[in-house]
Symmetry: C2
Subunit: 337 residues, 2 copies
């Protein structure tokens, strides 16, 4: 861990104590540390190519501590980074986690945050490779995730005309969960699932690995910014277009949840972000293998076209990044992680 901040922090917790006793409490899982975190830097032995990505979460912008427990926050900060590794088909190796916290946070908060970080790392087989703890007015969690892969990574740029378009799970659920969380709506099991989707997104690590290792997907991205926006990124990087039919995603559950949250279900589905599902394309000759070999449920939602642009067979109209429902997503779009 680094040594950028001073001694007195977080109600008398010193940085060294935070780092040594709380964040580094568990030994690194991986046996390939030449020098474990705690020196000026960690040294690790990496097999294959290195995959690196970074995301930063800021209190008041990406999350609110009124509905995020420190455990959920720590879990989520790591998970959204592992989701980027999953989208490349990489195996998680380790994360560096830098945390800014006001001096008034309790030791309980620090321990909760560290526990959430550890849970997420352990669940997906990654180690803590370092980080930093500093004072800041607002809570900030900045994560760099490192992964490894052998062979050709999944990228956004390989989609070709005729490829099927698939998603690994529901779209819009996390957005609806956030509306429940910020609006304080209480409710049944479905609401709980939507809230959990927002608080503890599950990176599709095993699916990403399978899609790459079996050479099934021609392109891949994770749905962090919403179906339309993320699919557009694939289409632009690949120089193609697409027709989608999102009817399979527009199920009764989503309709009911959207109604309870006071949002149009199709808008939530197309423009709601942060589901952290994998959105990927599969050449026709690989589609049978996908359904046969990938254990997780995947949903076919369209086909890649040669002509640029994205159209929806439900509405019949071309879909744009702005969308008809944009206004309801502005808060989300501006700040939502």
């Amino acid at each position: 861990m680094a040594s950028e901040s001073g001694p007195e922090q977080s109600s008398g917790l010193t940085e060294d104590r935070i780092v040594r006793e709380i964040f580094l409490k568990e030994p690194p899982l991986s046996s390939d540390f030449v020098v474990p975190p705690g020196d000026d830097a960690a040294v690790v032995r990496v097999e294959g190519d290195l995959v690196a990505t970074a995301d930063i979460l800021v209190e008041g912008v990406h999350f609110d501590l009124s509905y995020f427990s420190p455990e959920d926050l720590g879990y989520r900060a790591v998970a959204v980074n592992l989701s980027d590794l999953a989208a490349m088909g990489a195996r998680p190796h380790s994360c560096l986690v830098s945390v800014g916290m006001p001096s008034l946070v309790s030791e309980e908060f620090v321990r909760g945050l560290a526990a959430g970080i550890r849970d997420s790392l352990e669940e997906f087989g990654a180690s803590l490779a370092g980080g930093d703890t500093v004072r800041s007015e607002r809570v900030v969690v900045s994560v760099t995730a490192l992964g490894t892969l052998d062979g050709k990574p999944l990228t956004r740029s390989g989609a070709k005309e005729g490829d099927g378009i698939y998603i690994s799970g529901p779209a819009g659920l996390s957005h609806i969960g956030m509306l429940f969380l910020t609006g304080g709506t209480s409710g049944g099991e479905d609401l709980e699932e939507a809230r959990r989707k927002h608080l503890r997104p599950v990176p599709r690590v095993a699916l990403g690995l399978a899609l790459r290792e079996r050479e099934i997907a021609s392109s891949c991205i994770d749905t962090s910014d919403g179906l339309v926006r993320d699919l557009t990124r694939i289409l632009e990087a690949s120089g193609v277009g697409a027709s989608i039919d999102v009817a399979p995603l527009l199920d009764e559950r989503l309709r009911k949840l959207a109604q309870a949250a006071g949002v149009d279900p199709l808008d939530a589905l197309l423009y709601g972000g942060e589901d952290f599902e994998l959105l990927f394309t599969v050449p026709p000759e690989k589609e049978k293998e996908l359904l046969r070999s990938v254990g997780e449920e995947v949903i076919r939602i369209g086909i890649v076209r040669a002509e640029r642009g994205l159209s929806d067979s439900l509405g019949g109209e071309p879909l744009s990044l702005s969308g008809k429902g944009k206004s309801s997503f502005e808060h989300f779009g501006e700040g939502g992680a």
Copy 2:
């Protein structure tokens, strides 16, 4: 780069535009990118072991925009991370840089920050491997630096009785520079050098590489938190003690600068942080080789003892982390990067 934040940022600059047009304006320097930044993650081919470290700088805690230009801030954020790589004897490879900025910052600020980041990366042969841009009330710059090395890294734990203790440059200068900057004192060339030491610290990358490759140093750390604190980290990690004589560092220039800043020169020297010099130990049989082969000027300030503890031959008293001058460093200690 990641996709964690929304579309409207920084006075109408979208995240995609910030990332693509400003931060990724220059192509990565390194030819070993399998997938350059811009996808869900970057993929790089790494030779040797990977060295990783992370530091986060927070506005109002580590820096103040009244005296930090965006260029200096960007430069410094990268440089302090490269200094941690230097302390391990690693060769800089790349950095991931996540930036939080208020929506009100100008495009000029964003361009300045990106230019400073680029300057620092280029000066030390590193590439930009990714990052994130988000909104936040205060400016936050979070950097992960990745380096490589072949063979045994420099660590804090190898100091042995009889080893000479060396430092690569002045101690206390950056602290005095910060006092000038925050106090608004103007002055001559010496003051300018102290200010520059604070704003644009120079990581000792070449020296760290030489100390490791020639197997000269038995332990090493960078002076981010002050001479006494950082030397204590080496001594504790190595299970030894030391006697130091800091007279060679207490020169006329430091005395004059300390007087102008209203601080005790010995306190600044012992407890002032952020100089980002290398502090290292050298076995007796290697000391001649050090002076012969290392181009940079290094200063001998003591000797490693078997008995625990740290004493200063100037004052004759044992030195502790608190020190006689602690009170004047509390602001610094609490927040100073």
